[in-house]
């Protein structure tokens, strides 16, 4: 067979077989993966605020969710371009309402901020006017240094803290990673305390 035919033919066959195997594996695993991810999320949410059910604020109250995610930083930045893009709203990726016996017990915010390498996504629970707990959702920080934000020693300092507390400890050797969590947390709390109405706070399970 001529080379000009053999080479593209061989490539085409290999790519075809590969695509077939990959799509088969994907179809087989996608439902299982989605299920597993859902379960992992549920487990993590119940670890932050124990409740009967969790629902997304984007489903329940799209208007409030829209207001949260489009918020700009308070205090306003001197550079307007920075204010628009660095808005606290861009840090809020999802809000879960923790419900027990049909009343809202609290809300769990999924916050995201660029860390040392890639985004750090973490969950924080708010109840009354306190932080219940913080747990890291996804991160791709430096193993052994930035990944220490997942340690009990770092995360436990947030548990059961009032909204008024502003000074938290960073991790030595992982300043950027730990500040990504701390700054995002304090900025979100500041926004909630200052910019939300009493009614909106109640809708999130917070005290006015």
């Amino acid at each position: 067979m001529k080379e000009t035919i053999k080479i593209p033919l061989a490539l085409a066959i290999v790519c075809l077989v590969s695509a077939l195997l990959l799509s088969l594996t994907y179809d087989l695993t996608r439902p299982i993966i989605d299920d597993t991810d859902q379960n992992l999320l549920q487990d993590q949410l119940s670890g932050i605020i124990k409740a009967e059910s969790y629902s997304k604020l984007s489903d329940e109250n799209a208007e409030l969710f829209g207001k949260l995610t489009s918020a700009s930083s308070s205090p306003p930045q001197p550079d307007p371009a920075q204010s628009a893009s660095a808005g606290v709203g861009s840090l809020i990726k999802e809000v879960y309402l923790a419900k027990s016996s049909n009343s809202i017990a609290g809300s769990i915010f999924l916050l995201s901020k660029p860390g040392y390498s890639g985004d750090i996504k973490f969950l924080v629970g708010f109840q009354a006017n306190k932080i219940t707990q913080v747990s890291i959702f996804t991160q791709t920080e430096t193993p052994g240094l930035g990944t220490r934000i997942e340690e009990e020693g770092f995360l436990s300092q947030f548990s059961n803290q009032p909204f008024t507390k502003k000074d938290y400890d960073t991790i030595t050797g992982a300043t950027i990673s730990s500040l990504a969590v701390i700054d995002t947390l304090t900025e979100t709390i500041q926004f909630i305390v200052a910019d939300l109405s009493t009614d909106e706070k109640r809708k999130l399970g917070l005290s006015p």
């Binding site: 490539l11 590969s18 990959l22 430096t142």
Partner: protein, 216 residues
């Protein structure tokens, strides 16, 4: 059989992919700041290497020489993706542990290197032996490297705290510079040991031939 054994040992010592062939250095330096990470990366690479060498050894007759590199890479990348998907579905905890390491395996030069130099030119069974030998050699190098870096950088090994509070950790060991230094030292040590071993073998065979001359 003897040939198979030679190929196996070759992958662990004489042609150790990290310390002798100097292949796959990027993931080596990146994941060896903890002994456990190095170990897991080694094992994962072993599986991909095995699968890739098996497949390429089987299809070697049908692959035109001029199209072999893209074909090999498609094979390797497909295996890594399939393994990643299967891990995510059936071993989610392990998958989360490995995280970003698995996609890194695609760019590990060892896989393409062995496929190109060995499995595309050798029979099926020998390719399996080569993959296992190289995979174990890689895993050993990474685990040792990771253990040294974790010991000196954290005072622990496999997350088991060994050094007490008196220990002042060498932070450089956890960073890339420390990785390079440790790798270089390990290579030097290996060369030294290899030399000593060779001299011992040489003097042993020299004594044997002298003995034969005396007795003959």
């Amino acid at each position: 059989m003897a040939k198979a054994w030679k190929i196996f040992i070759d992958g662990i010592w004489d042609s150790n992919p990290v310390l002798r062939l100097i292949l796959g250095i990027c993931p080596t330096l990146a994941v060896t700041n903890l002994a456990f990470n190095g170990f897991i990366m080694g094992i994962s690479t072993l599986f991909v290497l095995l699968a890739s060498e098996i497949v390429t050894s089987i299809i070697k007759g049908f692959v035109p020489k001029k199209a072999r590199i893209p074909i090999f890479i498609v094979v390797i990348a497909s295996f890594v993706t399939i393994i990643d998907l299967l891990l995510h579905a059936y071993l989610p905890v392990t998958h989360k542990l490995l995280g970003v390491f698995v996609p890194l395996i695609v760019v590990n030069c060892i896989i393409l290197g062995r496929v190109e130099t060995f499995s595309s030119k050798n029979p099926f069974l020998l390719s399996i032996v080569d993959a296992i030998g190289m995979g174990i050699g890689f895993t050993l190098a990474l685990t040792v490297l990771g253990s040294i870096r974790e010991l000196l950088g954290f005072g622990a090994i496999f997350s088991f705290q060994v050094a007490g509070s008196w220990f002042n950790p060498l932070v450089v060991m956890i960073l890339p510079a420390g990785a390079f230094i440790t790798l270089g030292m390990l290579m030097a040590l290996m060369n030294y040991l290899d030399d000593k071993l060779n001299n011992k073998l040489k003097s042993k065979s020299k004594a044997q031939t002298e003995q034969k001359q005396v007795t003959s």
